[in-house]
């Protein structure tokens, strides 16, 4: 059987299982083992043990359970209700209301988290129940969170940039700086879109109660205060060098428990309920991540990524043609492979070609992160889509449809970056 046919069969199995109602992580993992079997029979399964161990024995991933636990504790202690009550007063004048805080929240959280999954999952589990109760537009709620999560790897710290920097031997510090302005622009564009959309369709974002009284605004500030202190604590611990981002998840979680005891209603039974829910959410997300690793292994085992990249490299294109090809390549790979796998497979092969085309490696790093972000919200294996869908009750199609406009906005930023590389290079070139 040809390599192409095997890949097509693996995909057909995936789409059939997903469409016919197989649980999402199984629907990803089972085609992976089918694909392995087609390649090398039972012998191909021998790597499954080491691959399982190699994928999940990861200190970096511990940020996921810890940030989810933090979010659940804020939720169950009633603090997130108070936070959103306060925020809704403060943002009442801004079109889009609490939807704007989704984006702002993701941008702030992105500064403490290196991963877009952690960003989407953490802000999402605080925000979605509140947005649902307040009858915000479901698609827009889910889409803004799935897309907002991708800010997690554009703002420093960013795991994807660290990996790219390591692969391409570019300065990680400069890459971090290069992500800041595009990140701010993307945040602004997301917020502008929400403002325009909700102005044109007011039903998407219910009007929040307008308060003009000083007491009302003071009350709102008091509601938001605990969260502001928590975010300041987490950011402060990272930027003062007390803790790495992964470690900050743990001390932030402890601090969040303390805050919930002081300001919130964190009883023992609330705490037990938060732990219970954390296991369910975390178990689901980690199983999806694990299944994505298995799928990625099956694809790497076949060497498909290598072949595709080598094919593109072998076409000897002009610079513009090359970029269109790279764009197509990453769009396709983004639907197939999880984000880090994408870097590992393509950058070593593409990097020498970039040098030939005289492409700035820092600028390309930012483009690459944008491509990865797109991949993370592209169906069928855009992992952020599943993450958002796993923490609420909506349909996957609602998440996908809600994400489409944000997808387009990211494409606009990509074109802006292609035309004006200074957007990315302004800060790094002014660094010492």
């Amino acid at each position: 059987m040809s390599a192409g046919l095997q890949l097509i069969i693996a995909f057909a199995v995936f789409l059939s299982l997903l469409g016919l109602g197989m649980q999402v992580p199984f629907a990803i993992a089972i085609p992976a083992v089918v694909y392995l079997f087609m390649q090398n029979g039972f012998d191909a399964f021998n790597g499954l043990g080491l691959v399982s161990w190699g994928s999940m024995d990861s200190f970096t991933l511990t940020a996921i359970p810890l940030f989810i636990l933090l979010a659940e504790i804020l939720q169950k202690s009633g603090l997130s209700f108070r936070i959103y009550r306060g925020l809704s007063v403060l943002v009442a004048r801004i079109p889009g209301g609490l939807l704007q805080t989704n984006i702002a929240g993701c941008a702030v959280f992105a500064a403490i988290s290196g991963s877009s999954i952690a960003t989407a999952a953490s802000i999402g589990s605080v925000a979605l129940p509140q947005l649902g109760q307040r009858k915000y537009d479901r698609r827009l709620s889910a889409g803004s969170l799935a897309a907002g999560g991708t800010l997690g790897i554009l703002f420093p710290p960013s795991i994807a940039m660290i990996v790219y920097g390591t692969f391409s031997e570019t300065s990680v510090a400069k890459l971090f700086m290069a992500g800041v302005i595009p990140g701010l622009i993307l945040t602004a564009m997301f917020m502008a879109y929400i403002a325009v959309y909700t102005t044109m369709r007011p039903s998407a974002a219910p009007a929040e109660i307008l308060t003009r009284s000083v007491a009302g605004i003071m009350g709102a500030l008091v509601d938001v205060l605990p969260f502001a202190i928590l975010i300041a604590f987490i950011l402060g611990s990272i930027y003062s060098g007390l803790a790495t981002p992964t470690e900050a998840a743990a001390i932030g979680c402890l601090f969040g428990i303390a805050i919930s005891v002081i300001w919130g209603d964190l009883t023992w039974s609330n705490f037990v309920a938060a732990m219970h829910r954390t296991v369910e959410v975390v178990g689901n997300i980690l199983f999806i991540v694990y299944a994505a690793f298995l799928f990625s292994y099956a694809i790497s085992y076949a060497g498909v990524g290598d072949d595709v990249t080598a094919f593109v490299v072998g076409l000897h294109l002009s610079k513009v043609e090359f970029f269109i090809a790279v764009f197509v390549l990453y769009t396709v790979l983004g639907c197939l492979v999880e984000s880090l796998g994408m870097i590992v497979i393509t950058v070593p092969l593409l990097y020498p070609v970039l040098v030939q085309y005289g492409v700035d490696p820092i600028w390309f790093g930012v483009m690459l992160v944008m491509f990865i972000e797109l991949g993370q919200i592209s169906p069928p294996i855009g992992i952020n889509l599943f993450v958002i869908q796993s923490i609420w009750d909506g349909k996957l199609s609602e998440v996908v449809m809600g994400t489409v406009p944000f997808h387009l906005i990211m494409l606009v930023l990509l074109f802006m970056l292609a035309i004006w590389p200074e957007i990315a290079l302004f800060l790094p070139t002014r660094m010492g």
Binding site: D43, N46, G47, L50, V51, W53, G54, S55, D57, F59, T60, G114, P156, P157, I159, I162, V163, G165, T166, F167, S168, E169, S171, V172, A173, K174, F176, I238, Y239, S240, G241, L242, A243, T244, P245, T246, F293, S296, Y297, S300, Y301, G303, G305, L340, G341, V344, I345, P348, L349, Y351, P352
Partner: protein, 308 residues
């Protein structure tokens, strides 16, 4: 020419960067093997991370025939006796390394044979030195500094010099240095010294020792090759692995000079080298005791040969 029904092997390296000298060496090696065996043996290289198998599990992956060949620099958890040549400050220069490596070879082959693996070659990384963003121009400057280490041995060394060793994943190091979670790290110029060059201000060129990477082949796959092909493969590996070692050493000197222009590089005085050696020496015996009689015996031989 007749079509020969040759074998195709999958090879896996810990190295995830295709452009570094070690990985380029492997690519050249597999190319040459293909040519010189007239296609009897084709080897497909998978870079670190692409197979979701950890660098520390490569020995296991070769033993289990998941890949037929492994390029393994992180084998200590599977074959601990290999650590003897990596003890800090034990080996001072490449000539000494050759000597020590020859003493170790039989023990290494035997340990690997037990796991159904043939050791077919090795290449050696350049000297491991200390880098920091805080002032680091002498041995006593290590005092109070938080240095990222990648092995318990390195940790022991930093502790003995009055610093605090910290273990961090490679991906977390740049942000950690940037924000002062750690002050510095141990690596070679041509390793991460160059990659993280913008984060360091000082390079203290005290040579802690050398790290080698072993080329491993699954015994069953190896036995399936005809003796003549085995000889060709063995000779090609020896030739190109040695070439890689030399290329990396030359590159390291080159980069060390380049980096000296953007940070303060200090070579230790002979008195400092002696002092560091004195302080870490008691640890050698502790290490051997923990590893058992075979390791102790090997360490004795090595120390006799080096006279330290």
């Amino acid at each position: 020419t007749p079509v020969t029904a040759g074998q195709t092997w999958n090879a896996y390296t810990y190295n995830s960067v295709a452009t570094v000298t070690a990985a380029k060496g492997l690519a050249e090696l597999f190319d040459e093997i293909g040519k010189r065996t007239n296609g009897e043996l084709k080897i497909k290289l998978h870079l670190g991370g692409t197979l979701q198998i950890k660098a520390t599990d490569i020995t296991q992956a070769v033993a289990d025939n998941i890949v037929q060949m492994g390029d393994d620099a992180f084998f200590l958890g599977s074959v601990p006796v290999g650590a003897v040549v990596r003890l800090p400050m034990l080996v001072h220069d490449p000539v000494e390394y050759q000597k020590v490596s020859a003493i170790l070879a039989p023990a290494l082959s035997e340990a690997y044979a037990k796991r159904g693996i043939v050791v077919v070659g090795q290449y050696v990384f350049p000297e491991q030195v200390i880098w920091s963003r805080k002032e680091l121009k002498s041995l006593k400057d290590i005092q109070g500094q938080k240095i990222r280490v990648i092995s318990p041995d390195q940790g022991e060394f930093i502790k003995k010099m009055g610093g605090s060793p910290v273990t961090l994943g490679t991906a977390e190091v740049p942000a950690a240095i940037d924000r002062g979670v750690v002050d510095g790290a141990i690596t070679a110029s041509s390793g991460y010294g160059y990659v993280w060059r913008d984060l360091f201000k000082y390079n203290y060129r005290l040579n802690l020792g050398y790290v080698s990477s072993l080329l491993l082949v699954n015994k069953k796959a190896w036995d399936r090759l005809s003796p003549s092909v085995q000889t060709v493969v063995q000779d090609t590996i020896r030739e190109i692995a040695d070439k890689t070692t030399r290329a990396m050493a030359a590159e390291d000197q080159d980069l060390t000079q380049k980096l000296a222009a953007q940070m303060t590089a200090t070579s230790p005085s002979p008195a400092e080298v002696e002092e560091a050696g004195q302080k870490i020496r008691p640890y050698y015996a502790e290490w051997a005791k923990a590893q058992g009689p075979e390791a102790a015996e090997l360490l004795d031989q090595v120390r006799k040969a080096l006279g330290r």
